[in-house]
């Protein structure tokens, strides 16, 4: 071997030290969190109070965590940020159905402790706002705007906030508030007309999918309001014990119209009548239909007679027919919770008449103290139903909540 050849290996060995030094500087701690199935990489939930986590006529961080959307996000293994409220909430949920007491010291129906600043984030996944109707998700100041619209969306619309998350998956549950208050009030004619609902809903979904190409998701049907325990069977008024409970709850002696409140009546009475009678906003009298001996609004307001129930059912069916068609047109799954709701009612798990003797569970285990919003147990049922729907539609393998 020549002298010059013997130099080369030594020179290479010199640089070999560089490789050793380079190997000493690796960093094995730079990995981020494990990613979920790509389809669930970014999940957003658009909706109203149910999706936001409203329970017992209020909302706080505790109830927000129990939303089916949060539960579903957990099963997906994906990051899911919600607009956490501070302190007692805004407004704090009821703790006693009879007295109207609310969670937290000094809480009233107007208490609002604003947003929790320590959990502030730029991207939200749960963009649902209590009270939202089909008019609201794509409008900055919609007709159903409230303080929560400002606190949750910070000057943007639900659709805008959802798109900020660059979503790959979405659930949309909108439409309940287009009919709910009108049905409870016994005034179904005030519900959002079908054509308007279609226009609003279509724009919302079109804007959502346009801003997130390839988006997958589930459109959730509107609930048949008559199935919610906030509307109770008028025949219960013929039960002396129930009537006595109403008298005690209102502090009044309620007169019941015997001509309309018969053993064959199929009318439904809205639970808010209790507070209305108590406050004096409604006469201490209940009729189960129009044309009775008591002057208006008795027999009309907060009373949903048979014909009106048919009308409500028709309106909701119309909404849901469109929602399903829209889901099909955009390749989304469709989930109708009314089957589950009907089964729970048939089993007695959802009582047809509130238990006025219970201050903590008058509407059973699946509805909270306002008779409208699902309980934590119901949210689990909803989340598990969605797991089945999603797995069937997309061939995924989400597991259910035990």
């Amino acid at each position: 071997m020549s002298h010059s050849h013997s130099r080369v290996p030594r020179a290479l060995a010199f640089f070999g030290a560089a490789g050793v030094i380079a190997g000493c500087t690796s960093d094995s701690t730079v990995l981020g969190p494990t990613r979920a199935d790509p389809i669930f990489q970014s999940y957003v939930a658009i909706g109203n109070s149910i999706t936001a986590g409203f329970q017992s006529d209020g909302i706080n961080d505790s109830t927000q965590q129990r939303s089916y959307a949060v539960l579903l996000g957990r099963q997906m293994g994906t990051r899911f940020a919600y607009p956490s409220l501070a302190g007692r909430g805004c407004r704090p949920p009821l703790s006693n159905a009879l007295t109207g007491a609310r969670v937290g010291t000094g809480s009233t129906a107007t208490t609002c402790d604003l947003r929790n600043p320590t959990s502030a984030t730029d991207i939200l996944n749960n963009v649902a706002v209590p009270g939202a109707t089909s008019f609201d998700p794509d409008t900055t100041v919609g007709p159903a705007n409230s303080i929560l619209t400002a606190l949750f969306l910070g000057g943007k619309t639900q659709v805008q906030k959802a798109l900020e998350a660059q979503p790959t998956f979405a659930t949309v549950w909108i439409g309940n508030n287009d009919i709910l208050s009108f049905a409870i009030a016994g005034q179904p004619a005030g519900a959002t007309p079908q054509a308007t609902f279609v226009k609003n809903y279509s724009k919302m979904i079109n804007d959502l999918v346009a801003g997130a190409p390839g988006l997958k998701g589930v459109l959730i049907a509107v609930v048949q309001v008559a199935g919610a325990p906030v509307l109770f069977d008028a025949k219960a008024l013929l039960n002396p014990a129930f009537l006595a409970g109403l008298n005690q709850a209102t502090g009044k002696t309620i007169a019941v119209d015997p001509t309309t409140c018969t053993a064959t009546t199929t009318s439904l009475i809205g639970v808010p009548i209790v507070a209305a009678i108590k406050s004096g906003a409604y006469p201490a009298a209940i009729a189960c239909g129009k044309g009775g001996p008591f002057p208006a609004p008795v027999g009309d307001l907060l009373v949903l007679d048979a014909a009106e129930q048919v009308q409500v059912q028709g309106i909701v069916n119309g909404y849901n027919t469109y929602i399903k068609a829209k889901a099909d047109s955009v390749g989304f799954a469709y989930y109708d919770p009314n089957g589950t709701l009907a089964a729970l009612k048939a089993s007695g798990a959802i009582p047809s008449v509130p238990n006025l003797a219970s201050t903590t569970a008058p509407f059973g285990a699946y509805f909270t103290l306002d008779g409208i919003h699902p309980s934590s147990a119901a949210h689990i049922v909803i989340a598990n139903d969605l797991v089945d729907v999603i797995n069937t539609k997309y061939g995924t393998h989400l597991s259910k909540i035990q």
Binding site: H3, S4, R7, R10, A11, F14, F15, A17, A18, I21, A22, C24, T25, S26, D27, T29, V30, L31, G32, P33, R35, Q41, S42, R79, A81, P83, A86, L114, R115, N116, P117, A120, T121, D122, I123, L124, V129, T140, V141, G142, N145, S146, I147, L148, T149, A150, L151, F152, L153, G154, G155, K156, T157, A165, Q166
Partner: protein, 465 residues
Amino acid sequence: MMRVLRVSRYCLTTISALAIAAPSVSAQGFGLSEIGSCAVARGFATTGSPCKDASTIFWNPAAPTTLSGWNVTAGAAAIAIKGKFTQDTTGRVWDADEPTSIVPHLFLTYHRPSSKAAWGIGAYVPYGLTSQWTDDFPGRFNAKKASLQTIYVQPNFAWQVTPQWSIGGGPIMGFSTVELIQGVDLSTQVTPTGATFAQLGIAKNTEFARARLKGSTTAFGAQIGVLGQVSPAWTVGARFLTPLQFKYDDADATFTQIPTGLVLGGTIQAPFTAGTPVDALVAGQFQAGGKLVSQKVSTKITHPAQIQAGAGYSGYKNWLLSVDYAWVGWKRFDVLPVNFADTTLSKTLIESYNNTSAIRLGAEYTVPGNGLKLRGGFMGVASAAPPETVTPLLPEQDRNYYTLGAGIPLMSRWVVDAGYAYVHTPGARGRIVERSSTTQTAAQLNTGVYGLSANVFSVTLKASF
């Protein structure tokens, strides 16, 4: 107009943050080593065995005694940096919007061969940086753009104490300009009610203003060096560059309102009512009497001391091998004060940098017959920043430099040196928010991973007369 916010002092990081700022990759922190293309190509291991050109004024101020006659060295390095941040929560990646930086160098020496004295002067850039991110980068509230341009001018005198040993050095006058542009986050601003805008629902990282800070100043220091030929094949050398403290006492801060386009969707309480444009609520802060008006700001940035020592071996025919150790005193970046004319905006930034060490390896092969020189090198550099201080201003992390180049003779008196360096980093977890307390840990602060790499192209024209 009702004052609807109080600008929080922790919302503005400023010039002092810039001190640590920007993804300069060509040394640790905001240090730069692209001083002469021969040095670049030889892995910057050029103190124990300096390049045979006037750039030795920087690399070893004693070495001009080894040159003959007039020597001029002039050139520049183009530094093209690629940076990115990958956010944990969304997996989203933001690429840095880095412009290519041009770093010049110019040296002149004179040594009459019969004399023991050598004179010279050099202008070089041992510290500097530019970083820039896109308008939607969530870390823009730490830094949207940062620029530090510092040039040292060093007159130099070297003396050959013995035939084997020389010493040298000179004073340094430094000129520095800094600029920082950053977003101001509305969510952290306080309303007259005492609640922050975040508590009222404004999302984090809602930019409603952009702050621009700019200033310049001068500072003084010195550098000394020693060089020894300890045997026919071995040389040793060392240099010490003093720290220079730049005090930017007369910098300017200006603020521009950035429209948010937000409209409150519901009523919270007056004046935060449904339908109110948020931009109208805060407009008054940019007018006379408001917080976000032009004002003076001051801070100080210490360019740290450097010690470099090494050796060169030329015992293999046509080969020169060199190894250097370099130390930089970054520990002086513990905290940095930022003082606004409006003292309510003033703050002190927590940096907690550490002193650093680097190993530099270089090799040079002279092609027999034509004088062409082929060069290669490597430098391994430890991070100056602790895990809590990897930021958009400077995503500091361990770095490896792989270098190569050539020296091409042109006629008898001219040489063109070309050098290339690829800078590799392993990636480092970092933050995009300010660290407000020393009790905050990296696990609490860091929300993503910074990636960084760079390509450096350097060209130098040398002449000797």
